[in-house]
């Protein structure tokens, strides 16, 4: 039980918590998608349509930049200060239902948007959380996190629908984490034996 390494380190994956090269296939896909869409908008609405969207999105981008920095710092601090042994005990493969509930609670209270959720989730993986607990955290953030609900869902869809939707979603993160864990140990059984 001395500093158990997370199972993900066993293969050639880049270490979680360490962001990969800035240009990859996903970036290329998005770039092509954006270029094609911008060309279609130009064709349909002329150059004014293109610049109008550009102005809107630049404003949005300006607001997001500092939050991305905050998210990256949050992830880095968490990776540095959380004790690995404690994390793998409370969020690791052996953490049971309690680990999934902790992951869910953490995802639900995490402030910010995708710019915090993913760097923090990545940091948790790096310091010993397993796929199950991390899935519970990510799914909980996306389904029952208050940030998006307060900022967007309630104003657009109304409080009644939002609360109803959240109530229905409450059990899902734990179930997703449990399903993830169930499949993970069957997909990668050897790795777990080698690690423990």
């Amino acid at each position: 039980m001395k500093d158990p390494a997370p199972a993900e380190d066993a293969d050639a994956e880049p270490r979680p918590g360490h962001i990969r090269k800035p240009v990859g296939w996903s970036t290329v896909t998005i770039a092509v998608l954006v270029a094609v869409s911008a060309a279609l908008v130009w064709h349909r609405d002329g150059i004014s349509g293109v610049t109008e969207i550009l102005t809107d999105d630049l404003t949005l981008f300006g607001g997001i930049v500092p939050r991305v920095l905050a998210g990256c710092l949050l992830g880095a601090f968490i990776a540095e200060i959380l004790p690995h042994e404690k994390v793998s005990r409370s969020l690791g493969p052996e953490s049971g239902l309690k680990g999934l509930v902790i992951g869910t609670a953490f995802g639900a209270i995490l402030p910010g948007g995708p710019f915090t959720a993913y760097p923090v989730a990545s940091a948790l993986l790096a310091v010993g959380a397993d796929f199950g607990a991390t899935i519970a955290m990510v799914v909980s953030w996306t389904l029952i996190g208050y940030g998006r609900a307060v900022a967007w869902e309630i104003p657009i869809l109304g409080a009644d629908f939002t609360l109803w939707r959240i109530a229905i979603s409450l059990p899902l993160p734990v179930l997703a984490g449990a399903l993830g864990r169930f499949i993970y140990v069957r997909l990668y059984p050897k790795q777990d034996e080698a690690e423990s």
């Binding site: 993900e8 998005i30 601090f77 993986l125 657009i156 179930l175 399903l179």
Partner: protein, 166 residues
């Protein structure tokens, strides 16, 4: 606007609190994590810029009526399936996703189908997965997480059908 401000305050408050904890562990710990965080920020920036600045164009060319048309009240499980696919295929940020759901509800869409749509959008919206999740998380985790999440829009719709809308 005030909600956004509250989120920013909470966010930077958390950064400051964790930064203070790191600082108390000693200067090298603090400086190392500060450097790591800044490097992550610099590496991630080009993708975020591309995604955020480009998302308006992608949203502008996908006709939203196509998506809302799939969420009819009597569409049953086929409708739930279509809603799930639409949720994953919806471009843009939360404004677009929730607005489509709102339009579908007003146009007489079935609540279980709209629930499936919102849950699927939350779990799979391709733009968020490509733009945020893949850059920050190990790719293997992202695919695993997405695959494991597939049953849940259907489960949410089933719960909505059983308990009904209050």
């Amino acid at each position: 606007m005030s909600a956004a401000l509250l989120i920013d305050v909470l966010l930077w408050g958390s950064v400051a609190a964790l930064g203070l904890i790191a600082f108390r562990r000693g200067r090298p710990v603090f400086v190392a994590s500060l450097r790591q965080g800044s490097m992550d920020f610099i590496n991630i920036m080009p993708r975020i810029a591309l995604g955020v600045i480009g998302s308006g164009y992608i949203a502008a060319v996908i006709p939203q009526e196509v998506i809302t048309g799939w969420l009819g009240p009597n569409s049953g499980w086929l409708g739930v399936t279509m809603a799930t696919v639409s949720g994953a295929a919806t471009p843009g940020g939360p404004v677009i996703g929730f607005s489509i759901a709102a339009v579908a509800l007003k146009a007489g869409g079935g609540p279980p189908q709209v629930i499936a749509y919102v849950v699927a959008w939350a779990l799979f919206a391709f733009q968020r997965v490509i733009l945020w999740e893949i850059p920050f998380m190990p790719a293997r985790f992202v695919w695993f997480r997405a695959a494991v999440s597939i049953p849940f829009p259907f489960l949410a719709a089933a719960i909505a059908m059983v308990i009904g809308r209050p």
